[in-house]
């Protein structure tokens, strides 16, 4: 408390320096006058009295100095001096300052941008939501099976009832609808949420209300919706009397009860939600029927909020215990099932989990680029320090402390990095919404992945700025202050190529740069190879000649029987079109973000471990789906129109499932259980990829749509292009029903490519930054070599005069530069071998120690550094011996 008060007074007195100085003069003057008067009274003559008074007082100037130091903050005052002096120095060398600042701005800006993305996408992804640090994502899992599942509503209710460590359970199931029908249907993302959604998140609607507790219950009983600010503005033109009006959503009029505040986009990383409906409306928005009373129907994704002070592990322990009790009470649906909590940044069901590795790499790369930039600036400063040796020598000679010099140089560095940090923030601000461009729209909806620049990002970036100042300015400062006065006062000693231990710092910096560039290049190379491997992987179905689109029947209010009639009619019409070979609907189109159905299965003769439950994903498909997709049939037959509601339940399984559960026996004609219902295997299809190219082989089967649920996704096998088919489709669909329109029509290739967007983004990032690093490292090398050459002109001239050939000198300089590169490459190789393991998760069929990227990285560094060394070497070789010897 006292300390603070003293500090305040000292700070305050900084502002009134001159006034306080006068006041002190007056006070001391008064003291001396009194003392002199007293001495005269004691009988001294005036001069004698005066000198006695001064003697008694001690040195007036020293006292004043001590007084001033006590009064103000000497640190601040010298800092101010250093800042002014540093600013002048930087202004005197604009070229140096600008180059240094560009390097640092790139480094700091890249870091700030990545921080802002991490903050906005991973750490605090939901604007306006309070206490995000206590939110955790909740999802289910099947023991023994990888990945996560959704949670059923009854399970979720039981968790909520029995959990004492969490104060809110929030359902948030992504859905969507088609609001505008034109030539192409535009989808709007939306969420099915629990009634406590807005209250629990601390988001207050700006008009109307959030949901009320009873709106969780009753099948389709509460057709109400809260709309987003954006939808209110764009669709309803900010109508102030919007509350109470109705909006058709999925064929049912919904009453608008609230408008969410501007800037609230829901709680799903990747999309900006347009409206929210309560859980009771699940059946209208989530395909697959009414699920609120079905413990086996897993459809809920959501969040819990921990009570203050509760550790995630405690909450997980409690929730696991509850899940175990549920397993015991409801073995039919819950055997082998658990519930897991995830921190927001690892949320498995939205884009946080998908983007985590990419952002991790980006952070890594940004730090690398920063270090390389720092090394470069450090090099520049060292070059500049040579020019300032005279200044430093003089300052040391007239009594400046070495520490004081270091401080001065560090302050100059601080000015550089502070200015660059400002530039970096501007860069990050400009880039904050750039992340989304690395990823294509999915399902025709643009993704929403804003960065967020808040005080945490600013503080972290400021920290980075300080650390980088130390990184780049400390070495030059230390070196500059270690001038040997005696030798420096003599004439500048002439340099020798490769001589002098003092000059070790710069080559080391160049080596570090080369090494870091090497690591980045190897990383980029590995990812490129992996991407190539991914793209060479066959998905197991035709990617060319097959187009995919979807029709939003739900939004138009279609019920199942009407969908059946419509689809039959449309397929019939499409197959009559010239150029169309076949067409088929399916519930899920592969490689989209729609989720496959998953069901517990039982195969006769296959024994399941006691605490596990066999489950398999399946797809509901129409007649001729496999032929349309070009998935080969290995035995049996595929579905025809005869496999309808009245026919016996049939399934086509993939060969992986056949070998896994039937072990060599021909499964065609055999039966297995799906959710307790018997199904007959009528065919075996070759395994294909279902979600993405890198997934592991999995058991999978198909069942006829007509025996389960109808699907909206249309596949067309045709030689025509997407635009032509889109036009034909619109015509055919409109002639059947003008209220329907197809969504985006894309080739299957495009659909597959979209799943590799994350890998491609990572490759692009690494390639760009790897290239940047290469350029920076080359500049650094060029700087060191050309400086060495210009400092050793006399030596070179001497060698020339003694008969050295041009090629000797050229070779001498080149080999020295390449030796540096070589050391850097060796260092980098060690670092890369140790660190590429970290990206194993992003690599596909490529070893993190694959020799090819290592070779390519070495080659490109050797080439780049040869180019960087050649100019100085050429200059060295053209040294004119006469001039060189005369000038020195």
């Amino acid at each position: 408390m006292r300390r603070l008060r003293v500090l305040c007074r000292r700070l305050f007195s900084l502002l009134r320096g001159e006034e306080l100085d006068r006041s002190l003069d007056d006070e001391l003057d008064f003291h001396l006058q009194m003392e002199i008067a007293n001495n005269i009274r004691l009988g001294m003559n005036p001069p004698e009295a005066r000198s006695a008074a001064l003697r008694r007082f001690g040195g007036v100037t020293q006292i004043k100095e001590i007084y001033r130091e006590t009064r103000g903050l000497p640190v601040m005052e010298t800092l101010w001096q250093d800042l002014r002096f540093g600013w002048r120095t930087l202004r005197r060398n604009p070229a140096f300052s600008i180059v240094a600042m560009i390097c640092l701005t790139l480094g700091i800006g890249a870091n700030a941008a990545v921080f802002s993305w991490m903050e906005g996408i991973l750490l605090r992804p939901f604007p306006l939501v309070t206490h995000q640090e206590r939110l955790m994502a909740v999802a289910g899992f099947n023991r023994g099976a990888p990945g996560h599942t959704a949670v059923s509503w009854p399970d979720f209710q039981d968790l909520k009832k029995n959990c004492t460590l969490c104060d809110a359970f929030i359902v948030d199931r992504i859905t969507g609808t088609t609001l505008s029908i034109g030539e192409r249907a535009e989808r709007s993302p939306a969420s099915v949420v629990s009634a406590n959604y807005f209250d629990a998140l601390g988001v207050r609607p700006i008009l109307g209300r959030g949901f009320q507790p009873d709106e969780d219950f009753g099948r389709n009983a509460h057709p109400v919706t809260v709309i987003s600010y954006q939808m209110w503005q764009e669709r309803f033109h900010g109508d102030p009397a919007i509350i109470g009006k109705t909006q058709m959503l999925n064929g049912m009029p919904h009453t608008i009860v609230g408008v969410a505040p501007a800037g609230f986009h829901g709680t799903f990383v990747g999309w900006a939600m347009q409206f929210w409906v309560p859980v009771s409306m699940q059946e209208m928005f989530d395909p697959g029927g009414y699920k609120l009373e079905d413990r086996g129907a897993q459809w809920i994704e959501g969040f819990v909020r921990l009570k203050p002070g509760v550790a995630p592990q405690q909450a997980q322990a409690e929730i696991s215990a509850i899940a175990q009790r549920l397993e015991a009470s409801y073995p039919a649906t819950n055997r082998g099932r658990g519930i897991r909590l995830y921190p927001l940044w690892q949320t498995p069901f939205n884009n946080a989990g998908t983007l985590l590795p990419t952002l991790g790499i980006m952070l890594f790369v940004a730090v690398f680029v920063l270090v390389i930039a720092c090394a470069n600036v450090s090099n520049l400063l060292l070059v500049k320090a040579i020019g300032r040796r005279h200044e430093m020598t003089v300052r040391l000679a007239i009594g400046s402390g070495r520490l004081r010099l270091v401080r001065q140089l560090l302050t100059e560095g601080l000015i550089l990095s502070a200015l660059s940090a400002a530039g970096g923030f501007a860069l990050a601000y400009w880039c904050r919404n750039l992340f989304v461009f690395l990823l294509p729209p999915r399902g025709g909806v643009a993704m929403f992945l804003p960065g967020d620049i808040d005080w945490r990002v600013l503080a972290l970036s400021a920290g980075v700025c300080l650390i980088s100042t130390l990184l780049f300015a400390l070495a030059p400062a230390m070196q500059a202050s270690q001038i040997d006065l005696a030798s420096a006062m003599k004439a500048e000693s002439a340099g020798v190529v490769g001589g002098g231990r003092r000059k070790l710092v710069r080559p080391v910096l160049v080596m570090v740069q080369v090494a870091l560039s090497f690591v980045l290049l190897v990383g980029a190379g590995l990812l490129i190879e992996s991407l190539r491997a991914i793209q060479n992987t066959s998905p197991g179905f035709s990617t060319s000649g097959v187009l995919a689109t979807s029709i939003d029947f739900t939004a138009a209010g279609y019920k199942e029987p009407r969908v059946k009639v419509f689809e039959d009619e449309l397929i019939y019409r499409l197959q009559r079109l010239a150029g169309v070979e076949s067409a088929a609907f399916a519930r899920v189109s592969p490689f989209t973000n729609r989720t496959y159905s998953s069901a517990p299965i039982a195969v006769e003769g296959y024994v399941t471990p006691p605490d596990q439950q066999l489950t398999a994903d399946y797809n509901e498909v129409g007649p001729g789906y496999l032929a349309t997709m070009g998935i080969p049939l290995l035995s049996g037959r595929e579905f025809t129109r005869a496999d309808n509601e009245t026919a016996p339940a049939a399934a086509v399984i993939n060969d992986f499932m056949a070998t896994l559960y039937w072990r060599g026996k021909d499964p065609v004609g055999q039966r297995f259980q799906v959710k307790g219902r018997g199904v007959q295997v009528i065919g075996v299809a070759k395994i294909s990829k279902y979600r993405n190219l890198t997934e592991a082989p999995r058991p999978f089967f198909y069942i006829p749509m007509r025996q389960s649920a109808m699907g909206p996704n249309l596949q067309v096998r045709t030689s025509l292009g997407p635009e032509t088919i889109a036009k034909e489709l619109v015509r055919e669909i409109h002639s059947l029903d003008p209220n329907l329109a197809p969504g985006e029509v894309i080739t299957m290739q495009e659909q597959v490519d979209r799943t590799t967007a994350v890998q491609r983004a990572a490759v692009a990032m690494l390639a760009v930054f790897g290239g940047l690093a290469l350029v920076l490292a080359s500049i650094g090398l060029y700087g060191v070599m050309s400086n060495t050459v210009s400092q050793s002109t006399r030596e070179l001239g001497l060698r020339m005069a003694l008969g050295a050939e041009t090629s000797d000198l050229l070779g001498r300089v080149m080999s020295q530069g390449l030796a540096l590169t070589g050391c850097g490459i060796v260092l980098g190789m060690a670092a890369a071998l140790a660190s590429t393991r970290l990206i194993t998760g992003l690599l596909y069929q490529v070893s993190p120690r694959d020799p090819l990227p290592f070779a390519i990285a070495s080659a490109s560094l050797v080439i780049a550094s040869s180019a960087a060394c050649f100019i100085p070497a050429w200059r060295a070789a053209r040294t004119d011996p006469v001039r060189a010897l005369r000038d020195c």
């Binding site: 006292r2 008060r5 003291h31 008694r56 020293q62 006292i63």
Partner: protein, 115 residues
């Protein structure tokens, strides 16, 4: 600077200043210096100047306040006055000082028991 030499002195100087102001009431720098010299006689070798940084430190701590006023010979002088916090500090410091003096006393004078 020369702090290590005068550190002990600083502590006791502050105590002397506070005590002086407590006894005499508001006083200017010269007055304080004279008083300290009078009390300590010639035993204390003190440059009068060192008093001023000490006064500043006491003021920064909030134990004394200062005000410009007229001196006894009608000149403009800066007067220092002890604050309530200063009195509290004086009491605490004095007690502390006595305790230390007591301990040192016991150390330096051989005790009867040990003889």
């Amino acid at each position: 600077m020369a702090n290590d030499k005068s550190d002990v002195l600083h502590g006791s100087l502050a105590l002397m200043v506070l005590r002086t102001l407590d006894t005499l009431g508001p006083q200017h720098g010269w007055g304080i210096a004279r008083r300290i010299e009078q009390i300590s006689g010639d035993a204390l070798e003190l440059n009068q100047g060192t008093l001023y940084p000490a006064l500043l430190r006491l003021e920064q701590m909030g134990w004394i306040t200062s005000k410009w006023g007229a001196s006894e010979n009608n000149r403009r002088a800066k007067f220092y006055e002890i604050t309530r916090a200063g009195k509290k500090q004086l009491a605490a410091e004095a007690k502390n000082w006595e305790r230390i003096a007591d301990i040192l006393d016991r150390f330096l004078r051989p005790s009867r028991e040990s003889v």
